[in-house]
């Protein structure tokens, strides 16, 4: 079997200590094969966001390991974690997180610059063309629509050719038509560029664009669904909500 692009083993994250401690993740085991598009879903408080911040090297887990493309990044210090983050992981956020004073082209090239690498103009322009914004390269984010800004963010996530792209509710701030086109774009990057996308979402429509859905409940894995449809995912989510309400 090939090395997964992202793997977490026994991932545990506890906030606070003593009587007030809250455990967001309970020994979570998940693997994401290279070249796949996986949605991570779960009710509020299921640990989706904590999973993403730990897997994305934004914070260190309390216990367990995070392995990216075969390299264990769990015990790295803050500077090395930052380096991993900008070279091995691409991020797409709900609120785009573009720098307001950089043009679309400069935003896409930013991770390369931060890594001290020469920004390859051709590669940046190629990515902008791929996300359908070749003619908007010199615009500032404030001059772009929400959907266009998210496309720039996706191009930025792709620019370092990362092992995995982590998307946090990437369509949460978009209307449904724009959302569909952004999801289709993510789908294309997986199919045509061989990217690996892990997307946290609560939207069954968004999840239906993925190859598979992983469900989380109370910080544990609670099942997996291959080739998800919107209806099946919505049904499973309703079921999980009932489970949580009953417990």
């Amino acid at each position: 079997m090939t090395t997964p692009a992202l793997e977490v083993r026994g991932l545990t994250r506890t906030y606070g200590d003593g009587a007030t401690a809250v455990t967001a993740l309970h020994g979570l085991d998940l693997g994401f094969a290279a070249g796949t598009f996986t949605a991570v879903m779960g009710p509020s408080g299921s640990g989706k966001t904590t999973f993403l911040t730990c897997a994305g090297a934004l914070e260190a887990p309390t216990h367990g390991r995070v392995v990216i493309d075969g390299d264990d990044i769990t015990d790295l210090d803050e500077t090395r974690r930052t380096r991993v983050r900008r070279e091995r992981i691409g991020f797409v956020f709900q609120s785009f997180h573009l720098m307001p004073y950089l043009t679309a082209r400069q935003n896409v090239a930013l991770p390369l610059r931060l890594a001290g690498r020469r920004a390859d103009r051709r590669r940046v322009d190629e990515l902008l063309a791929r996300v359908g914004l070749a003619d908007r390269a010199d615009h500032l984010p404030g001059e772009l629509s929400g959907g266009q800004q998210q496309r720039v963010a996706i191009a930025r996530a792709l620019v370092t050719d990362p092992a995995v792209i982590l998307a946090d509710e990437p369509t949460g701030a978009l209307d449904s038509r724009t959302a569909t086109s952004v999801l289709a774009l993510l789908r294309t990057t997986v199919q045509e560029l061989g990217a690996t996308v892990v997307m946290v979402t609560h939207d069954p429509v968004a999840a239906s664009f993925a190859d598979a859905v992983v469900f989380l409940v109370d910080g544990r894995a609670a099942g997996r669904m291959e080739h998800p449809s919107t209806e099946a995912v919505a049904g499973q989510m309703a079921h999980l909500d009932d489970l949580v309400a009953a417990s």
Partner: protein
Amino acid sequence: MTGLALRSLRHRPAAATATFVAVLLGTALIGTFATFVESALHLHGEDRTSLIVMGAVVGGWGALIVLYSVASTAGITATQRTAETSLLRVVGATPRQVRRLIGREVLVVSLLAAAGGSAVAAVAGRVLFGALRDGGMVSDGARFGGGPASVAAAAGLVVLTSCLAAWIAGLRATRPSAVAALRAAEIEPRGMHWWRAVVGGLLIAYGVGAAVVTLTVTRHSADPYDAMSTCGAASIYAGVGMAVLAPWLLRRFSAPVAALVGRTASGHLAAHNAARRSHLLAGVLAPVIVLTSGAIGTLMLVGIDNRTMHDPAQRADGRLINMLNYVVTGMISLFAAIVVVNAFAAVVAHRRTELRRLRLVGATRAQVRSSVVAEAGIVAAVGIVLGTLGSLTTVVPFAVVRHEGLVPDGQLWLPPAVAAAVVLLTLVSARASVQRATRELAG
């Protein structure tokens, strides 16, 4: 609204501190010299004239400077909250309510600060008056006559200004529609109002004009201090004029300076931020220009006078004038420094989410810090060059009039010393603000 204002103040003591310090020091300064004027009303002869001149010159300049710094601080504090006030409007606050919220916050802070400043002024006025008597600048028989009236008038003036500034900032924050304001929080307002260009241009023209008048008219005057009175304040006018044009100047001049900052990622970010969002950093550039121009201009003016004035009778006149020059320069420097520190804190606080964003995209904490410090470097460099140019409107004409030639005979160490102090001030205040902001961005 008052309840909301108080709660909002408790939520952000740092922003209120800036206004508090500016109003406190402002009231203390203007109040102190106001007591001299009040004392003068009970005196006669030369004492009366000296005290009124002192009170009028220092009080007048002081009022201008303090009002500027209070206005800019209160304005910055209100403007940096555009995103939040737009949010309030989206959930249903009327523009009037938002203006009232901002106004009441500033009123509460200013009243407290003015009360403290009045107490300082009452004591400082008495002490300084004693010092003047001991130094022989007023006669031994003169009695201190400053009371609550002068101090209260000074306090009232400062409070009124800060409220006016907050009201204007509130108007600006509520003019566009709520959603437009929310979006605009991220976007650079393009260009400046035409009146701003006119005011800046006129002030610079006035400074240059005063220099020309000194060289052509007052140099032939019988009283050697006539030349000083025409060119003495020229550098300050020119500096303030450039400060008014600061956003435009920063856009123009940041590119060549940015080329010097290097091709590192931090330098790249700093250069683009300085050029594309010059309205933010202009708040820092403005006081840097005034500080540099005023300090170099006035201190070299006094130096030239001390070297070239040998007539003992006129030297006595010169002592009072030069003491006033020092006091005015000291005030300008002090308040400009306060505004620099405040403005940086405000700019960085305003950009907190954006700096966090940089971290998420993969910048190390060191890269975020050095990009903000590089911005400070760009501002300091542009400010020093422009400020030094402005100071020439005072230094060159006065040096020529007093027969030292285009370049004064002494004190050439002064401009580099002022420049070093300005660089230190900007870099340290930038570093301190970003340190505070990035500490909580760990992760």
